[in-house]
Amino acid sequence: MAPEKRSLFTRVTVAVPFLWLAVFFLLPFLIVFKISLSDDAVAQPPYVPLLSLSEGWAGLREKLVLLDFENYALVLGDWLYVYSYLQSILLAALATAILVLIGYPVAYAIARSPRGLRPILLLLVILPFFTSFLIRVYAWIGILSREGLLNQLLLSLGAAAQPLEILSTNTAVVIGMVYSYFPFMVLPLYAALGRMDDSLLEAAADLGATPARAFWRITVPISTPGVVAGALLCFIPAVGEFVIPDLLGGSDTQMIGRTVWNEFAVNRSWSVSSALAILILLVLLAPILIYQRMQLRELESR
């Protein structure tokens, strides 16, 4: 379609959502960046300076001089914040690795199941995703707590001599993340595995490959894009997770999403929480760009 032939209708379909996302998604990030360079103030809103065009260019320049990287120096110079970032990345990576390990067999089984059964199995995997995230995390409090159902079970079976302390630890956080993000891992994996042509495996078998060898040489490479997509879909939001560490984590759990919220709501330091948010974005920039590129390639490929 040549640009000059584009109809008014097409122009509208592009312009309206583009404008919306520019105003409500792109612009807010520029504001976050600007506030991250500002200083806190005891005022409403609690930060200075506010870039305002009403004071003209001179006023604007005066304010621009006040912007600096103080908040970033503060964040990066404080071991607690750095620890918070490292812990978030580590826990999210661990949860993602476990998700690949348990998500792959499930997605594989769905892809191998009879054609008529597949939509039902997929629906069963997606259904919990529709019910509340908060409720699904909450469900684990009753299971993992000291007097919880898991400990009751373990004690009655004699598998544990005394109740295990799982709730309020990082273990509970990882369990919560694995549970909550499970559908996000299975769906892209299934999409990749479901597209696989069975005749490839048959050809491999005819040529004398054992099933295990055929799996490693054919199925695994074909499903790799699905693994990457699923891993990104889980890892990126998990790094900034707030609800799970807040409900299942303990005092040692200082994931960065929780830190941003605490700086914002408890310490009321909007500029520091903005700097923290920008730093998360920097950490996640590469994975986000890879994810976007994969989505775009998917769009072009058909």
Partner: protein, 267 residues
């Protein structure tokens, strides 16, 4: 050969294990909502007392009403915008800024909610927009429209463009071609997008926490403030109502869509 086509014991085990992992916590939650004992982990016999208590909890009912209104408004706007975005991505050709646009559509899908929430709040403060019903609704439109876009996009990709071109060749305006050719075919995906946007909005805690004003406490915000105090049978009862309603709606919708899909492909 047989083990590759069908289900081997290993794959059946994986499937059963995966589904058990997904559903056992929810089933336990539902069972314990009928527990007569106030101590959540001690079984005290069956009872529906916590459900009766819910109806008298005015704060909870108010929060549910706020959430339903926000979700209805947000899902409807998000469906329109998301469908337009999908059309732009699939049918818009190579317009200027397309890569940026695609990036803006896909980024909110993975963006940690804490960041989106903070960014939107700072926008509303910067433009002096008082926090309330509309700030939550607009925030929800923004992140849910991207989910709608992805769902509608995948439907548009599998839909033969030549049908639309035929309508245009026969003299239909692009708008008319959209309403009489494209929309009927993508309608199940649009409906699925609306439903997903609705449930995502209903479920959101973090973004609402940043963008809601006083007096606009949503249901997840209310539940959360109770959950932080620990596990209580009341929360189990609310959760059960939530799970049952969503399950029924999603199942009904997927059946309806299957039926609709069959009708379109059958004609």
């Amino acid at each position: 050969m047989a083990m590759r086509k069908g289900l081997s014991p290993v794959t059946v085990t994986a499937l059963a294990g995966g589904l058990a992992f997904l559903y056992v916590p929810l089933v336990l939650l539902v069972i314990y909502s009928f527990n007569d004992s106030r101590l959540v982990t001690v079984w005290g016999g069956w009872s529906t007392r916590w459900y009766r208590g819910l109806l008298q909890n005015q704060a909870l009912m108010d929060a549910a009403w706020v959430s339903l209104r926000v979700a209805a408004v947000a899902a409807t706007l998000a469906t329109i915008l998301g469908t337009l975005a999908a059309l732009a991505l699939v049918r818009g050709g190579a317009f200027r800024g397309r890569t940026l646009f695609a990036g803006l559509v896909y980024a909110p899908l993975v963006m940690p909610e804490v960041i989106t929430g903070l960014a939107l709040l700072l926008l509303f403060v910067a433009i002096d927009f008082d926090r309330g019903f509309w700030t939550v609704a607009l925030a929800h439109v923004t992140f849910t429209m991207c989910f709608v876009a992805v769902i509608v996009q995948s439907r548009l990709l599998t839909f033969d463009h030549s049908l639309e071109e035929a309508a245009l060749d026969l003299g239909a305006t692009p708008l008319r071609a959209f309403f009489s050719v494209t929309l009927p075919v993508i309608l199940p995906a649009v409906a699925a997008g609306w439903l997903l946007a609705f449930t995502l909005s209903l479920d959101d805690l973090v973004i609402a926490n940043f963008t809601a004003g006083p007096g606009n406490t949503t249901l997840p915000m209310r539940i959360y403030s109770q959950v932080r105090l620990g596990v209580t049978p009341e929360v189990n009862a609310i959760s059960t109502v939530f799970i049952v309603v969503i399950t029924v709606v999603v199942l009904a919708a997927s059946l309806a869509m299957k039926w609709q899909q069959g009708k379109i492909e059958g004609r």
